[in-house]
């Protein structure tokens, strides 16, 4: 798992921790059923308050990403496949909206954007193979 905190970014630390763990779950670095470091371990490693990490874990639990079993620790939920899909879809929608906005700025028609998408979709599949 990888967590990089940025000081003075204006984003509260607990939120940065939460986002980082969520990214690790969505990206598969933390697999379903996998155990997270304990609140106190992570707070030691990140050198932040125990309460800051606790808040991040509490919110991740509320959002259904992790579950905490008393005395055992916190785990990535195994039944979160739908949630992961939903998150990815949300991210996809955000990026598509961004693309639509940019294409409007650039004066592209809807058809042109769709053709471009088609082209890149095909190219992307080949491109994957070309990559070293």
């Amino acid at each position: 798992m990888r967590i990089v905190l940025i000081g003075g970014s204006g984003v509260p630390l607990f939120e940065q921790i939460k986002d980082a763990i969520r990214e690790n779950i969505l990206g598969g670095a933390l697999p379903a059923g996998g155990q997270l470091p304990s609140v106190r371990e992570l707070s030691r490693d990140l050198k932040v308050s125990i309460l800051t990490v606790k808040k991040a874990y509490d919110e991740l639990e509320q959002e259904g990403f992790i579950t905490t079993r008393q005395g055992l620790g916190s785990f990535v939920r195994g039944d979160n496949a739908a949630l992961v899909l939903e998150e990815k879809q949300k991210k996809l929608e955000e990026r598509l909206l961004e693309a639509i906005r940019l294409s409007k700025e650039a004066g592209l028609s809807r058809q042109e954007l769709l053709s471009l998408t088609d082209y890149l979709y095909e190219d992307g599949e080949h491109g994957q193979q070309d990559r070293v």
């Binding site: 630390l13 030691r44 050198k47 308050s49 125990i50 309460l51």
Partner: protein, 280 residues
Amino acid sequence: MDNRIEFENLRKRYKAFTLGELSFSVPRGYITGLIGRNGAGKTTAIRALLSLIGFEGRLLVDGRPVSGPDYLQRVGAVMDEPFLAGEWAMQAVNAAMAIAYERWDAQAFFARLERFGIAPALRVKELSRGMRIKLMLACALSHGADLLVLDEPTSGLDPMMRDEFVDILKEFVEDERNTVLFSTHITQDLEAVADYIVFIDQGCLVDSCPKDEFMERYRLWRGGPELAGRLSPDILLGVKSTAVGTEALVRQGTPPPPGADILAEAPSIEKIMTLYGRKA
């Protein structure tokens, strides 16, 4: 809340300074930072906690009023002035500690010394300030204490040692039965690790809450030199003006005066401490 230590109406009168009345608690399992500028009363509060001075008010340990010095067996103290004799080599320190503490662990002590790079043959007076702090820390951690009380431990330490020091505290509270109270005016260390903040000024409590909450309670306004005169004293917690600018500390949520050209930001603990109570 499960408190390791509670002070109720602590008061200590000196000729030139009175501490209190001051009530605050130190929650079990966490690191609490006692902050305030020099002379705010931090050391007096810590000396009272260690029964090094007499005081008015009540001290509760594990929820019960203190009746004798027994509670100190489980308290590891690191004070600004070392309490060890200068002539002592480490073997003598070990012997003295073994007399003072029922649960003194000589093996743990020498293992710590080795980890801290302190050769047993060295005498206390031959140690640098940083090494002395480490020696006191080695003592504090070698008699089964579950409460560490540290008075200005990081002043005089270089940044690397401060970092190492912070690691040791974090390691200590990995066991949730352990508690740390440390006083400091060097706030970078605290900003990183403290869970709770107790902020005192001129002998009185200003704030006592989780650190993240503490930092959200204040706003720092920056503006031109004319800004200081435009702010009502009712909203100002502290202000500093120079020929070219003004820094003002206010509560979070304070509406700025209409039309004022202000840059608002979240202040660091250090800013809060230095501006608090300051008059233009």
